[in-house]
């Protein structure tokens, strides 16, 4: 690892990574009624991790996010499949989603969807696949 040659990039990326992750979180939660959703939020999170890998190196990313990305993909697909088949238990068609209004302590009257759980599965799958591809290409020589 070359020391000191990209100290600007390293210091900027320390902050920008969290901005991009916050933007990904916003995209994830806004995705029901406006542009956004699990897929683009996953791509944005992978972009933040890619920036970390560019500024530092791949070992740093593996240390910061100590998960097996292939396992994350599998878990995400299982969550997505689970919300799909969960509707079958209530006699509804596959992937039918339910929603309701709840009184949350801070947010007041909030509309909660099971589609959000499906989106979480999509998010995890996209992050896992994208990071697996990027790290595999990066380690190839």
């Amino acid at each position: 690892m070359p020391k000191g040659s990209d100290i600007f990039l390293q210091n900027v990326s320390k902050i920008v990574v969290f901005l991009v992750l916050a933007f990904a979180l916003y995209l994830f939660f806004t995705g029901h009624g406006s542009p956004g959703g699990g897929f683009i939020a996953g791509l944005m999170s992978a972009g933040a991790l890619l920036l970390l890998a560019l500024a530092y190196d791949i070992e740093t990313v593996r240390k910061v996010v100590p998960f097996d990305f292939k396992l994350i993909t599998a878990i995400g697909l299982l969550i997505a499949l689970g919300t799909g088949t969960g509707a079958l238990l209530f006699g509804q068609p596959f992937l039918k989603h339910a929603f309701g209004h709840f009184d949350l302590p801070l947010l007041g009257d909030t509309e909660l969807h099971t589609a959000l759980i499906f989106d979480l599965g999509v998010y995890l799958a996209v992050v896992g696949v994208t990071m697996t591809i990027l790290l595999t290409i990066g380690e190839d020589r």
Partner: protein, 96 residues
């Protein structure tokens, strides 16, 4: 107002075309990288003006998204120009 926005969209498209010429023609790789970065900025501006033209807020996240992606692309290309590869592999720390 709509005419001004339409005119600025056309001018931004012309600016993108000029940058594209520099990307295709550019003598050095630094010219191409700078032109690609400028294309990213211009596309973000084009989307913002398009959002104002159609009077919808649906495009505003897209501006931020294009900005982040253009920044990432420029960093990666500059990395490639400097080192000859984009990502540092774990165990070639001695070579540079």
């Amino acid at each position: 107002m709509q005419t001004v926005l339409l005119l600025s969209m056309v001018l931004l498209a012309l600016a993108i075309a000029g940058c594209l010429y520099r990307v295709l023609k550019g003598p050095s790789i630094a010219d191409r990288i700078a032109a690609l970065d400028t294309i990213g900025v211009n596309v973000a501006a084009e989307v913002a003006v398009a959002g104002a033209y159609t009077q919808s807020t649906a495009y505003f996240e897209l501006v931020l998204l294009i900005g982040i992606l253009a920044f990432l692309g420029t960093v990666a290309l500059a990395r490639y120009m400097e080192r000859g590869k984009v990502l540092d592999a774990p165990d070639d720390s001695t070579g540079d």
